[in-house]
């Protein structure tokens, strides 16, 4: 500033000034003059400076003494008090300020033409930071997508001439959630009802792939009519694959409120649906207990974080004692609320409710006095609940109890309640439909393990209901069919079998040639596929298809569905040429019915798989791409079917030895799977395996092994030890062990797989051939060329029975066979195999692929040994060419 009163002192002068100042200040004020006169004789300016300082020291009235808050107030506080009310905010006229936060100031506004009111939110000082402008714009985008009675709507948005952004939104006249509970002295059930409304609104946002990330009572208002409105999507996140989210190192600047922040937010990890579930848990805790679970007020950041990450909060039932809502907090039913609340706010995201819907269901269970789906960490909870519920009548031994629990039949009383409730419900068919829809129409998160317990209970309830419907056999059969398919999805194949057979029998009794009989046959056939009873499966599906074709018009959905099912069976039987023909027809039928439909996605994927197995990678790739496009159109970018397509395209890249591209696609797919299913699901496991495979191919073993072992553990839990799904993961571990020269381990893995495939397929299958070839590779690596030859020959024989003669796998097996023959100095035999293998591989793979190079170098040796110098030279040139190009 040019009006500087005096030049600053230099360091030496300043040291002297301070020394004088301190010395003088130790004296009484009336002695200062004499002291300074003596000490600063001839230095009037120095004297004046110290004098002025002494005066100010006694006054303590400068800005520095007022504190930062006063300064902030002075600089900031009044700027919008002078906002020109006539400034045009679209059709809105400002009336008065109603709120102010760090980000923005909010005005009550009136829409002159309609006479309605709105809240106009203005971004403070937009010039200050791009992050603030982006957050504000992002809230606007988010709100524009959401349309729910529990979320304040966006009306309009714009920018003032000076760049100030504004949005006009629904004006909510109400109190914060906790304030409302307090001022209205709400009882427990009213609180739960309100909380459920909050959950509904949050679930709506999740349905639009929006995670709020800053849920807290001050962002949740309750209107005078007693309804909830969610505000402030200021740091909401759009879940989108294009998001930087996909990068595994992503850390967010998360401007959340620490008291409601989840552990993963505190640790700067990826956020998702589970983050909102956690915050909802804290909100529920506060509504129940009247206090926050963690009191971080006045703590240092480290302490707060430590507290939230490690401390065990007091149970709500204990904290609530003596409050209005907690009048009966010492009763047993509050123990359920403890479980519910602590499940929602579990420190580990994977142990929380998977979705807000799951949380809502437990709230409903609680309010209807049913058992919760959530279980505390020990199993004693369920038992305790059961005993409490039946304390009067219960004299059975614990052993009996356990059996009841294991079979999933919770209690007779429970079923009676369910049936009574069911009777009240109106139309049965509608009930079936609703029931099915509510369970599975969502598709994405339907049968995750976290939910399956509950689903089983519900389905069991349905079975009991269905049994009472003997007078209505058509409805009963439909119910059995539906319930059977649901059990199948839940992996309870025996239960499914019984029900589907019951449905088929009952329908045949009604009319042998009815379309429903055809549908039953197909459904049972698909179950047989899962039971790995493939010949039966094929017969059932073919019968069903023939019947549908007879009783339905050409192009009917039933025909299309049955055709797809037949394709599936043929694929499982590894008769790919037939499967391809059938699936082409199925895709054509489904596309004619509805070109953008789930059926088209399924059929295109299946056909893609068949082409892939048959080694037709280009066509497979274009079908996977098609199925991804249709799935995206139907479900958006973050859907398991999109993930499937990505992973399938990754498999094509892998097969073509473009491992980096495969890794990228697999990571994208895995990200979606983990988002949708969590980390403990078999679908996540498959994606992990695929990624592991791509890493192995790039020799990144230490990254791959933990992923693959994690996948195997999940799969063994879900599928048991003898399953093709387990086998594919075991194979991956075998490959890693082989490459790390752990030959015993490797052979054990591959031997386990040949056993699995023989047990499951009972006939030649290309997967069996792969496992055999891999065993051969172990012996080859050990230098046991005789054993190796045996396995490679067996593999080539099995491949030849199951895949086209030009299949890449045959090519690789023959090259491997050629190599062990070469090592046995059987040059003519080796020449035949290596040449045949190389011919196949060069037609299918890039010239730089390792097997192509291996085949060439083997052949160079073979030709040299056989004295075919011209061929050897040509092969050397081809090899050098490829190496130079790389």
């Amino acid at each position: 500033m040019s009006d500087d009163p005096r030049d600053p002192l230099d360091a030496e002068q300043w040291a002297r000034v301070q020394q004088l100042f301190h010395a003088a200040s130790a004296l009484p004020a009336d002695a200062w003059g004499a002291y300074l006169a003596e000490e600063t004789a001839g230095e009037p300016s120095l004297c004046a400076t110290v004098r002025a300082m002494l005066t100010e020291d006694a006054l303590r009235g400068s800005l520095l003494d007022g504190g930062l808050a006063a300064t902030a107030h002075a600089v900031l506080s009044d700027d919008h008090a002078h906002l020109p009310m006539e400034t045009a905010f679209g059709p809105y006229r400002l009336l008065r300020q109603i709120g102010e936060g760090g980000m923005a100031v909010v005005y009550l506004a009136e829409r002159a033409d309609l006479g309605s009111s709105a809240a106009v939110k203005l971004l403070h000082d937009p010039w200050l930071s791009p992050a603030r402008r982006e957050r504000f714009a992002s809230e606007q985008r988010t709100l524009a997508q959401l349309n729910h009675p529990g979320i304040a709507h966006l009306y309009d948005a714009g920018v003032l001439p000076d760049g100030t952004q504004w949005i006009a939104m629904e004006y909510v006249d109400g109190e914060s959630l906790t304030e409302y509970c307090r001022t209205h002295a709400l009882g427990l059930d009213a609180r739960l009802q309100l909380f459920r409304e909050v959950c509904d609104a949050v679930q709506h946002a999740h349905g639009h792939l929006v995670v709020h990330r800053d849920l807290k009572p001050s962002n949740i208002l309750v209107t005078h009519a007693g309804h909830v409105k969610l505000l402030d999507f200021g740091i909401a996140k759009q879940l989108d694959p294009a998001d930087s989210e996909l990068s595994p190192t992503k850390t967010g600047l998360q401007l959340m409120t620490p008291a409601y922040a989840s552990p993963e937010q505190l640790r700067g990890e990826t956020t998702g649906v589970y983050t909102d579930v956690y915050a909802l848990g804290v909100v529920l805790y506060e509504m129940l207990a009247g206090t926050l679970p963690f009191d971080i007020a006045g703590r240092t950041p480290g302490e707060s974080e430590m507290l939230i990450l490690t401390a065990e909060p007091v149970r709500p039932s204990v904290a609530a004692r003596g409050t209005t809502q907690g009048a009966d907090a010492n009763t047993a039913s509050w123990a359920d609320l403890d479980v519910l609340c602590f499940t929602a706010m579990h420190r580990e995201a994977s142990r929380r409710y998977r979705t807000v819907d799951a949380l809502i269901r437990d709230i409903d269970h609680y309010r209807r006095k049913e058992p919760l789906e959530a279980r505390p960490d020990s199993t004693t909870y369920r038992l305790g609940k059961f005993v409490r519920r039946h304390r009067g009548a219960l004299t059975a031994s614990i052993g009996v109890l356990s059996i009841l629990l294991v079979t999933g039949v919770v209690s007779a009383a429970r079923i009676r309640t369910a049936r009574d409730a069911a009777v009240v419900e109106a139309d049965r068919a509608q009930r079936i439909q609703h029931f099915t829809l509510s369970l599975f129409a969502g598709g994405a998160e339907s049968s995750e393990p976290g939910d399956s317990l509950r689903a089983v209970t519900l389905v069991e309830r349905g079975v009991v209901e269905a049994a009472t419907l003997g007078a209505e056999p058509v409805v009963q059969a439909e119910l059995y069919q539906t319930l059977g398919s649901i059990f199948q999805k839940l992996g309870q194949l025996d239960r499914a079998d019984t029900l589907l057979q019951q449905a088929l029998r009952s329908r045949r009794r009604l009319a042998a040639d009815h379309p429903d009989v055809a549908r039953s046959l197909v459904a049972l056939g698909l179950l047989r596929v899962e039971q790995s009873r493939l010949p039966e499966a094929e017969q059932l599906v073919r019968d069903g298809l023939a019947l549908s074709q007879r009783v339905r018009p050409a192009g009917h959905l039933d025909v299309a569905v049955a055709t797809t099912a037949l394709g599936r069976v043929l694929e499982e039987r590894a008769t790919y040429a037939d499967a391809i023909t059938v699936m082409r027809e199925a895709l054509r039928l489904h596309t004619a019915i509805a070109p953008v439909s789930p059926d088209v996605v399924t059929a295109a994927t299946q056909l893609g798989n068949d082409l892939f197995y048959a080694g037709e990678y280009d066509r497979a790739d274009s079908l996977f791409r098609h199925s991804m496009t249709v799935a995206q159109a139907l479900y958006g970018d973050r859907h398991p079917l999109v993930a499937d397509a990505l992973i399938n395209m990754g498999a094509v890249r892998f097969q073509r030895a473009d491992y980096a591209a495969a890794e990228r696609l697999d990571r994208d797919g895995l990200q979606i799977m983990q988002f949708v299913y969590g980390t403990e699901d078999p679908r996540t496991a498959s994606a992990l395996t695929m990624l592991g495979r791509a890493l192995v191919a790039q020799t990144r073993f230490s990254e791959a092994v933990p992923l693959v072992k994690q996948a195997l553990a999940i799969q063994e839990r879900v599928y048991g030890n003898v399953s093709p799904k387990v086998a594919s993961t075991v194979n991956e571990l075998g490959i890693i062990a082989l490459r790390e020269k752990q030959f015993d381990d490797a052979d054990a893995y591959f031997a386990r797989n040949t056993d699995i495939y023989r047990a499951v397929f009972k006939r030649p299958h290309n997967l069996l051939a792969t496992a055999l070839a891999n065993r051969g590779s172990v012996f080859s690596a050990r230098g046991d060329n005789v054993q190796a030859e045996r396995y490679f020959r067996e593999a080539v024989a099995v491949f030849s029975q199951t895949v086209a003669p030009t299949h890449v796998d045959i090519g690789i097996a023959r090259v491997k066979l050629g190599r062990v023959l070469l090592r046995q100095r059987r040059f003519a035999d080796a020449e035949r195999e290596s040449e045949a293998g190389l011919a196949i591989l060069t037609s299918q793979m890039s010239p730089g692929a390792s097997w192509v190079k291996n085949a060439r170098s083997d052949l160079v040796q073979v030709y040299d040994s056989l004295g075919r110098s011209a061929k050897a030279a040509a092969m050397r040139v081809a090899q050098a060419d490829t190496l130079l190009k790389r």
């Binding site: 002075a74 600089v75 600047l253």
Partner: protein, 192 residues
């Protein structure tokens, strides 16, 4: 963040330099948070709520909590982070005050939403700009003292924390603070 004519800090590496090497987003976020905290402080004063906490420490704690996980901040100690935050508070406040000053004078940066002459904010802005200028002067006389004032006034560090950060005794902090405070007050009086 506008022009900056400050002198170097005591240790030769200014917080600004450290901040520049930091992730741009983290920097931006620190300023956003500083801004929000200043808003909070201002509104507490306006509401005249005796129960509300008006210590700027809240910001620093929360900002640290929010930013600790970002790579560019993770390697700094909480105390050092508080020093960065103190600098951010000063800078944000000064930027706003400058902006308002410009608006009042109808300069090229004038904004549409202007201030009435003679209101408290105009005086507050002028005072703050004077303090900022005086602090720059103090930094030339004794960088450590300027830093101390910044940490205590803008960052809310207490005597013990300031002593730890600057690696001096608490008695020295008290003594240096008293002299610096008195000198700055004379400068502010002269400026007004």
């Amino acid at each position: 963040m506008g022009s900056n004519t400050r002198g170097p800090d005591a240790d030769g590496e200014s917080p600004d330099e450290r901040m520049q090497s930091a992730d741009r987003d983290a920097l931006d976020a620190v300023f956003s948070l500083a801004y929000e905290e200043l808003r909070r402080l201002a509104s507490v004063v306006r509401r005249n709520d005796p129960n509300a906490s008006i210590s700027p420490t809240t910001l620093v704690n929360e900002a640290w909590l929010r930013l600790a996980a970002t790579p560019s901040v993770a390697h700094t100690s909480p105390l050092h982070f508080r020093r960065i935050a103190a600098r951010a508070m000063r800078q944000v406040l000064v930027d706003i005050a400058r902006r308002k000053h410009a608006g009042k004078r109808g300069g090229p940066d004038a904004i549409v939403i202007t201030l009435d002459d003679g209101n408290v904010a105009a005086q507050g802005s002028a005072d703050l700009l004077a303090l900022d200028h005086a602090l720059d002067g103090l930094a030339q006389m004794n960088p450590r003292q300027a830093q101390m004032v910044e940490c205590r006034f803008f960052g809310g560090l207490d005597v013990a924390e300031t002593a730890q950060l600057l690696d001096i005794s608490e008695a020295t902090v008290l003594r240096d603070w008293r002299a610096a405070r008195a000198w700055l007050a004379t400068e502010l009086r002269d400026a007004s």
